[in-house]
């Protein structure tokens, strides 16, 4: 069977009988496609035409054999449009894969999550260890607005000048500096003597620790006496017996102070074996 395409002599091609029964289909010999190629050939350069022909041939083999040339041409154009985007997506995928692969290999070297790294939690015992020495750091004392008898702290309405002392085994082992005209007083753990530092260019850290050291034993208590320092004599604001074996390492907030003028009290017990860097860190987080 012969089919004419645009009347050109060289376009007279026999129809492959296999096409009719769908076996070993060769799209290039299909009469409808030949007419399509002929129309393309007239508008595009030969190089481009051959390319179209190749693409269409490979594509037709995978497509529905009932597709019309218009449909095939649409599909071909779609493929031509899509291929560059597939390339660009592949490049992005390569960037991602290379980044992930490198990160997996060197994650112990580069430390992108430094900012979120927390120090490993130290195992902290629930209570102070018996037989161990501890510094008792009275961090904060808050007094009520008035004395227990309802009178103001100082004449003229100024606040109390707070100071405290600590007794252990019936010996006064520490007396603090006073904090003037305040209801809330805080103390630092370390206090350097600047004059001594300048004079000797040395600092004795043990003497710079301005808190008493006590040993924790079963049933041991320390007595904390808090005063309003006055010229005419100190007014006792409250006296508390602190049971050392009930304290926990770290900051202890003691709030129940019946029969005293103490509103709030914070005591921190620090193991005396603390390293110097840990001590400095502790002080810097006051």
């Amino acid at each position: 069977m012969l089919i004419s395409t645009n009347g050109a002599a060289d376009a007279m091609v026999p129809l492959d009988s296999n096409a009719a029964i769908g076996i070993a289909f060769n799209p290039l010999k299909h009469p409808m496609l030949r007419s399509f190629f002929a129309s393309v050939k007239s508008t595009e350069p030969p190089q481009r035409f051959e390319r179209h022909e190749r693409i269409l041939a490979s594509f037709t083999l995978q497509s529905n054999r009932t597709d019309t040339p218009q449909k095939l041409r649409g599909k071909m154009l779609l493929v031509r449009k899509i291929i560059p985007y597939i390339w660009s997506i592949a490049i992005l995928a390569v960037v991602g894969a290379a980044a992930w692969g490198t990160y997996t290999l060197v994650r112990h070297d580069a430390r992108p999550t430094d900012a979120t790294i927390a120090p490993p939690p130290a195992t902290v015992p629930a209570t102070l260890l018996l037989g161990h020495d501890y510094y008792l750091w009275v961090r904060l004392i808050e007094l009520n607005a008035k004395r227990l008898d309802g009178e103001p702290w100082d004449t003229g309405g100024s606040g109390p000048d707070i100071k405290f002392s600590i007794s252990w085994k019936e010996n006064t082992i520490y007396t603090s500096d006073k904090r003037a005209d305040t209801l809330i007083a805080k103390w630092d753990l370390l206090s350097a003597d600047v004059f001594e530092l300048v004079k000797t260019r040395k600092i004795d850290l043990e003497s710079a620790i301005r808190m008493p050291i006590v040993r924790v034993e079963a049933g041991t208590t320390v007595r904390l006496s808090i005063y309003d320092d006055d010229l005419t004599g100190d007014d006792l604001a409250g006296m508390i017996d602190v049971h050392l074996d009930t304290l926990a390492p770290g900051v202890n907030s003691l709030t129940q102070h019946a029969g005293t003028s103490i509103a709030r009290l914070e005591i921190q017990a620090i193991d005396a074996r603390i390293t110097l860097p840990e001590l400095i860190d502790l002080v810097s987080r006051r």
């Binding site: 560059p84 390569v94 980044a99 430390r111 992108p112 979120t116 110097l276």
Partner: protein, 171 residues
């Protein structure tokens, strides 16, 4: 595909690998120093004197976590998004030219945008310079990540120039 275009695609592929690796490989190591106080700092704050290594991506993440969202966004855009996008566009343009079309907007954008590609390297160079000016002798050592990143940028620039010439000849 034309052999030359194929070699451009190969260049882009290598540049993509270098970019990915350069973003997450160690890029710089900061070695803090405190001059004559080194011993004291080692004693009191050993963490402060420990060398820290960052990758480009890790550095950006750290900036973000520390609250410098503006600079982190800027660096992320120009150091991560932009180079990756540029490679993708160059690849797209190469495939288009191979299909006997013009590189079009993709090639134009990638070629013009090449000027911004070295921003990250520039920032690192400025950082090195700034740290050298600090008292105490702190140093920043540039590591393989920077060279991988710079290699990727150079390759993509070369590919862009070659492709641009190819595009002009084809049109």
């Amino acid at each position: 595909m034309n052999k030359r275009l194929l070699s451009i695609q190969a260049m882009l592929l290598i540049a993509a690998i270098l970019l990915g690796a350069g973003l997450t490989a160690p890029a710089m190591t900061i070695q803090p120093a405190f001059g004559k106080f080194d011993t004291w700092v080692k004693l009191l704050q050993p963490d402060a004197i420990r060398p820290t290594t960052y990758s480009l991506l890790g550095g950006i993440q750290r900036l973000y976590l520390l609250g410098d969202i503006g600079i982190a966004t800027l660096l992320f855009s120009f150091s991560v998004c932009f180079p990756a996008l540029k490679l993708a566009l160059l690849s797209l343009a190469t495939a288009r030219i191979a299909g006997e079309e013009s590189g079009g907007w993709a090639l134009k954008f990638a070629h013009q945008g090449g000027k911004f590609s070295m921003l990250d390297v520039l920032i690192l160079a400025m950082l090195v310079l700034a740290v050298k000016g600090l008292p105490g002798g702190s140093t920043i050592d540039l590591r393989v990540g920077v060279w991988l990143f710079a290699g990727s940028v150079m390759l993509s620039l070369a590919a862009s120039i070659v492709l641009k010439g190819f595009d002009h000849r084809n049109l």
